[in-house]
Symmetry: C2
């Protein structure tokens, strides 16, 4: 028997583009590193409020940098990420409350589907500039991820229940307790220690803590692309 | 004759800990990558003012994260970086105006000394928790970097001249024109394109644009340590 897998928690919101980048790189590495990856759907708006932080895109130069940074990272990380045309409406008006409650319901009832449904929601908002706030948008993403229409509708009906609402609150509060002031947040539990890493740009550091880093597209993944 | 070296500009302030990390990694890579590294002493306070950004350490959770992040990066990057005890007095009260004017004077008159003097100032503020705002502190750093006492005093006398003041302003404005909202900022000029990268965590991306990435401590450097 080899060593026990270490647990990594990824706190994310599909509204956060850098969360998507972390998510894809960690999904690629979960077998390579022998980690137990726990996806933790959280609400970025709640984290901003609790920490007193402001969305970076509110500062014009940060919004401008986001566009060029995302453009380079798309190529380097091989994730089809793209800025939506109306960034402010998407980030500040529409938000992600229903989508993150839906993912919370998926996590509670069909955790095996969480990775795929999350990815389909990111593909909508951060690749194809499609809505994720309307019920129909969420159902379409769930279907694309492989859920039956009935299963998806059943989960969507549950997003206003106290169970789902409270679970999303609890996960968001857990991120705050780890010190989150934005997302993504990766929490590595290893050798009795807990390391909280913020952002998608601490992957090499995480690899340094865990094991070997082979770039954001490790060879085994590269061979499959 | 091989290909012409590409030019990389590093805009930095010794008040910025992540600037030090970028500086050391780029100094290690400058021969490996065949780049022409242009060190650009700038004033972070000027960039914050011009962009409307706020020092991250003002947000309690960001200050808390800075401490743990720096602690991990010190080991991974092999740079002896350490938080000063009274972070707020160092960052917000004392600042770096004289130190950055001194480095500007060094850059104008003895550019060959700029790397060493910059490093000694970082060693003071971000490794040994020593002052960099008093004339004597700056002279001591310059001497440690290999300058004669006379040479250092001569440069220190020039930090209030319009030439030095204006040059620091111009460099800071140049960073702003590239879109800076903080430091470090690395500007890569290559193949007729200009890429602006913010922070010390875009080194792998820079390597992707330029050439091969071998981690923050490339083998040739590792062998010398």
């Amino acid at each position: 028997m080899g060593p026990l897998p270490r647990t990594l928690e990824l706190f994310y919101d599909v509204l956060s583009p850098y969360s998507w980048l972390s998510f894809e790189v960690l999904c690629r590495y979960q077998n390579i590193w022998n980690i137990n990856l726990r996806l933790q759907p959280s609400l970025i708006a709640g984290i901003m409020k609790d920490s007193g932080n402001k969305p970076p895109a509110l500062l014009p130069r940060k919004a401008q940098y986001l566009a060029s940074d995302i453009n380079l990272l798309r190529q380097h990380l091989q994730v089809p990420i793209q800025l939506p045309k109306d960034l402010f409406s998407v980030l500040l008006e529409k938000g992600s409350l229903s989508a993150m409650r839906f993912l919370t319901a998926v996590n509670l009832e069909h955790p095996e589907m969480l990775e795929k449904v999350s990815r389909e929601l990111w593909m909508r908002i951060w690749s194809r500039d499609e809505d994720i706030s309307e019920p129909q948008s969420i159902l379409t993403a769930a279907k694309k991820a492989g859920m039956s229409a009935e299963q998806a509708r059943g989960l969507l009906e549950k997003i206003s229940t106290p169970t789902v609402k409270n679970k999303l609150k609890e996960t968001t509060e857990a991120a705050c307790k780890y010190g989150a002031f934005g997302l993504p947040v990766t929490v590595a539990h290893m050798d009795g220690q807990t390391h909280m890493l913020f952002g998608s740009d601490r992957m090499e550091l995480l690899a340094y803590l865990l094991e070997k880093w082979m770039g954001p597209v490790p060879p085994a993944v590269n061979a499959r692309l």
